[in-house]
Symmetry: C2
Subunit: 328 residues, 2 copies
Amino acid sequence: MRSVALRSVFLAALAAARLAGAQDSLPSWNDGPAKQAIVEFVRKTTTAGSADFVAPEARIAVFDNDGTLWSEQPLYFQAQFALERVKVLAPQHPEWKAKQPFKSVLAGDVKGALATGQKGMAELLAATHAGMTTDEFAKTVSDWLATAQHPRWKRPYDRCIYQPMLELLGYLRLSGYQTFIVSGGGVEFMRVWAERAYGIPPQQVIGSSGKLKYELRGGTPVIVKLPQIDFVDDGPGKPVGIQKAIGRRPVLAFGNSDGDREMLEWTKAGDGARFAGIVHHTDAEREWAYDRKSPIGKLDKAWDEATQKGWTLVDMKSDWKLVYPDAK
Amino acid sequence: MRSVALRSVFLAALAAARLAGAQDSLPSWNDGPAKQAIVEFVRKTTTAGSADFVAPEARIAVFDNDGTLWSEQPLYFQAQFALERVKVLAPQHPEWKAKQPFKSVLAGDVKGALATGQKGMAELLAATHAGMTTDEFAKTVSDWLATAQHPRWKRPYDRCIYQPMLELLGYLRLSGYQTFIVSGGGVEFMRVWAERAYGIPPQQVIGSSGKLKYELRGGTPVIVKLPQIDFVDDGPGKPVGIQKAIGRRPVLAFGNSDGDREMLEWTKAGDGARFAGIVHHTDAEREWAYDRKSPIGKLDKAWDEATQKGWTLVDMKSDWKLVYPDAK
C-alpha cells in the first residue's frame, strides 16, 4: 500500500536524522548505566539486520504518568484538582459542610479527607469529575491548570514535568516508537494537557475512567460523564488497559511504583528484546526522595523485581542533570 | 519539538505526493456526487489557508466495519465464526446437544439459534469468545480465517472487503488522516486481521469487548477473556467508544446502518468542516441489496437523517466500479 511505502521513506529519513543526532537526544541525562541501557536498547531494536530489530508497527512504548512523567508529591495533582474543585463548588452544596469527605476538604484537612478511604474518594471523584459533559469537564481542567500553582514549586502543575523524560519521549518517537501514557490517573483529566506537555495525543493516553453516556440536549449531541467508575487502570489493570486500548504488547515500559509492576512484567514477558525501566525518586532537593514507605508512589515489590530481573533503575539524583524543564 | 518539526516535513512531502496523484487515489469509484464530495472534503480540510483547514493532529476518520468495510451478509462474519467454533468445540461439550442455543447451531438451524435472542447470543459469545487467553483467541481467529470460506463467494472472509473503501482509507492516510475502525464487532476479533486487510493497526480498532483479567500462569503473565460483556460499541455506544479510545471528535465518519447513526451525528455536530457518509447496499448482483427491512445492517432512520441533513450517500451499484479487490 502507498502509505506503507511512504512510511518506509519517512522511517529511513528518521534513521538518518537519528544517526546524526543520537548523541544529543538525551542531553539532560548523565552518562551512566541507565542512559547507556536506553540508547543501546533503542539502537538494537531500530537497526535493520539486528537480531533484536523490532518492526516499526510494533514499536510501542508505554509510560506511567504520576511520578514517571511528572511529579506526584505532596499529593497526586489530579487529587489536588479535585480538592480545589470542592472549594469552588461548595456554595452550590451547603450540605457538604456536614458531610464527609467534603467537610474535611473544606476545613483544609486533607488527611481527614483521605481517611474516609475508597468510599470517600469515590464520592469526591463523583462530585468533581461527573455530572457534566466531557467538553465541560475538559474546560474545567484547562481553566484550573491555567492558574493553579504547585504548593512547593510555585509553578503550574504542567511545568512540574521531567525534562529527561520529555527527551526520552522525543528520542523514542524520532526512532519510530509510538509513545503512550498508561496511568492510574483519569483519562479525561490527562488528555486536556498531555499533547501540549508531552506531545502525546489523546488517542495515546490510557487511564482510569468513569462511565460515559451519549445523549441529545436540545438537539445537540453531548457525552455526559456519569458518577460510576468504569475502569481502574492501575496494577493488574494496566496490562488490561493496554490490551483494551492498544491490543499489542509494548516493547518498552517505564513506571515508578508498585502500581506499574504488572505493566512492566507484561512488557518484559513478550518475545524478543523488551525494556522495563523504573524512575527511582532519590532527589529530595530537586524533587522528592521516597520509595518503600511512601503512601504515594510506593516502590517496594517492583523494586525487588527490578533488582532480580535486571530492569533498568533510573536514579533521579545521579542520572538526571536537571528535573524540571526550566529549573537550574 | 523535534518530532513535530519532522512531522511537518513529512506532511509537506505527503501534500506534494497528493497533488501529483490526487486524481488516481480513488480509481474504483465512478465519477459522481459521492466521489466528488469526498475529494472536495479532503481537499478543503488539508489545504493550508483554506477556511476549512483541519490541523493534522485533528484529522481523525472513523469507519464502521460490518457492511462499511467488508460484507455482513448473509450473517455477520463474526457470528459465522462463532457458529463454526461451536461445531469444533462440541465434542468437549456433550451437554450442548440438549441446550439452546447450541442445540440449534449443531443442527444447522441458524434461525432457531437466533430466535434464542440476546440471552442465547450472550451464551454463544461466552462459549466461543471467552475462557481463553487473548493470545489463544487471536490464534483461533487467525486459523479460522486461513481456511474458512464465505458461503456465497467461496473466498476467504477477509477478501470480502470493499476495494473502493480500501482506496478511501489509503487516500485519507495519504492526506494526513488517521483511520480508525469503530465497529459493533468484537475488538479482539477484528484486530487479528485489520492491519493486514485495511492497514489499520490494532490501536486504531475500536469495538465491542468482553471483560479481561490479568493473571500469572506458571509464572507467565497472560490476559484472560472473561465471559462478561464489558462494552457494546453500537448505536449510542459508538460516540462513547470514540470518546473512550480517541478522546477527540472525528472529522469524517462512514457507516452503513442505523447502528452508525449516533456516530455520524456526533461527528457532524463538531465545529468546522465535517463529513458523514453512508454506504447504501444497492447491488444484489455484485454484493447485496438491503436497507429499511433488513434484520442485518438495517438502514432506516439513518437514511432519513442522511437525506434531511445532506450526508453523503454512496450508492454501491452506481458509485463503485467494483466491489471486492479481486472481482471482475
